[in-house]
Symmetry: C2
Subunit: 324 residues, 2 copies
């Protein structure tokens, strides 16, 4: 972090976000499962963001961003480029406020994801499937519509919104030793870490990411934002294929306690265990947190009472056999 | 009902059961899902017995039966014949009390069900796959071990145990117009009906069963317990393939308000909707209650605030593609 960097969001930003989004999002339940406790050798508390609006924690950040715009700016709507949960979440949040959501999607995005955005009233703008074209189209749509760009994670409003997960967990489960958080772009773990370190700094925050996209672990070691070494689509955890951002990295580097990486086999086994035993539908990204519990790197900490964020439940049921 | 029939269980039996089983079973959550409300055109409250111990409401009745035995009788254990959720539930409940559970299973029962019983400490006794052999083996094992037979549904202790679902729902969701309950042998709907009619008789209790095993609807019309017209394994709702019992039928005949039947397509669509939108893993039998919401027979009642019991979550994930 250089002197030019403004400070990360604060616990006050997270408290403000919590008040702002409270009328719209769920205070998701925390559930337990005897079998998962047995396998993990610890007491596991599942924070069920798969039961969140639009099926993922992304509803929190998107709602915070949409409702933090002043009325004049909001009237022109919001703009983002995403083909994942953030796209649906932003369309949904904009619909709650009654403003347009312009979602730039690559032409090769799955029809089911495109339709989900349209279902929530979003306006889809096609672009060629390159990052360059996505960014360029996003800028163009923002210029043409006057809409406010809301990035999927590298944004303080998003980070503060995702941090509200931790505010809830700390109230729901006293005395945690650690919270395990899947890491993609880092918005969720940055927000959760800011909250935990402000309120209960004795609780460790541990990131979890697939071995095949271990950019967060490598970024912490090198001290700078690392890109992927291989093809990020090699992991089934499609929500975690992004790299860290300028706004999320400083908190991850300086305040997160550990990041563990998990093999694909562990993600598949975690997906099966949560669905078969906890009876919850989760997406593969959420199984990464469960998989972390079984790794040596995690178990050496000896945590006894652990929160795990089940970050989302947007699973393609028809693709499930290929994920187990 | 003839004069020889003793009275059905009472609300006091259900209250006693609730106190007895409270240390062991979950007070399951009630969840909502905007999409299900939209499709149903009403406010739907999902009583999540899929999140119950052993993944089904059967844990309630089994626990009530096991813990209502006096110490001397209990020492010899319990006996049942079942290859379904009752088998697992009884094994689990007996393990809680530290007594043996003898489970008579047909030799053609799926290995996964057999292993689940063994996982819970149950002792499996093989028998030929005919009802006659199952009953005979059950009697023989009971005679040899001195164990107490605990039937899957046609038993007052079981009915009272399942009735505790309603005690909870009435406290969790005030002002319901109706509760929808899948019907197999009728233990659950009998218990729920006894509770509802004692505490809040203005709430309607509606049974739901597959068209392909519509024995409960026909039994109400004819006034006697009807058997199946076709092959009960034709429905995917494997938990509802039984017919009513002598102890469950009188309440179903005299106090249940309606029973609606649902097509297989509706069960499949309900299974998909609950998994995709409510993010809950349910078994096909639980989807029968969701399917009922879409039938003309149900909608003509015009209920606005409806509880639906998601009775179980023991789904074979590997078989899921064939169920959608």
């Amino acid at each position: 972090m250089t002197d030019r960097d403004p400070s990360p969001p604060t616990i006050e930003d997270i408290r403000t976000a919590a008040r702002r989004i409270e009328p719209y999002v769920h205070r998701t339940p925390v559930l337990t499962c005897t079998r998962i406790d047995e396998v993990a050798g610890a007491e596991i508390h599942l924070k069920c963001e798969n039961l969140q609006k639009v099926g993922a924690f992304k509803a929190r950040g998107a709602t915070n961003a949409v409702f933090s715009l002043d009325d004049r700016l909001a009237a022109s709507g919001v703009v983002t480029h995403s083909s994942g949960n953030h796209a649906q979440a932003l369309a949904w949040a904009a619909q709650r406020r009654g403003i347009p959501a312009h979602i730039v999607m690559p032409t090769n995005a799955p029809t089911v994801k495109r339709n989900a955005v349209i279902d929530y009233g979003g306006i889809v703008h096609d672009c060629e499937p390159t990052l360059e074209q996505r960014l360029a189209t996003c800028e163009r749509v923002a210029a043409e519509t006057g809409g406010a760009i809301v990035p999927p994670y590298d944004d303080d409003r998003i980070i503060a919104g995702q941090g509200t997960i931790a505010l809830e967990v700390l109230g729901q489960v006293p005395g945690l030793d650690a919270i395990v958080v899947p890491v993609g772009g880092g918005g969720m773990i940055a927000g959760i870490t800011i909250c935990v370190k402000a309120i209960a700094p004795e609780i460790k925050v541990v990131g979890a990411e697939p071995e095949l996209v271990d950019d967060a672990a490598r970024s912490r070691r090198s001290g700078r934002i690392e890109s992927h070494r291989g093809d990020p689509t090699a992991t089934i955890a499609d929500g975690l294929r992004t790299t860290l951002g300028e706004r999320t990295f400083p908190t991850i580097r300086d305040q997160v306690d550990d990041i563990v990486t998990v093999p694909e086999r562990g993600i598949r086994d975690g997906l099966r265990m949560v669905m078969e035993r906890a009876k919850l539908v989760i997406e593969p990204s959420a199984a990464v947190g469960i998989a972390a519990l079984g790794t040596e790197d995690f178990r050496r900490h000896g945590f006894q009472r652990i929160g795990v964020v089940l970050c989302g439940g947007n699973l393609d049921l028809d693709a499930l056999p290929s994920l187990l």
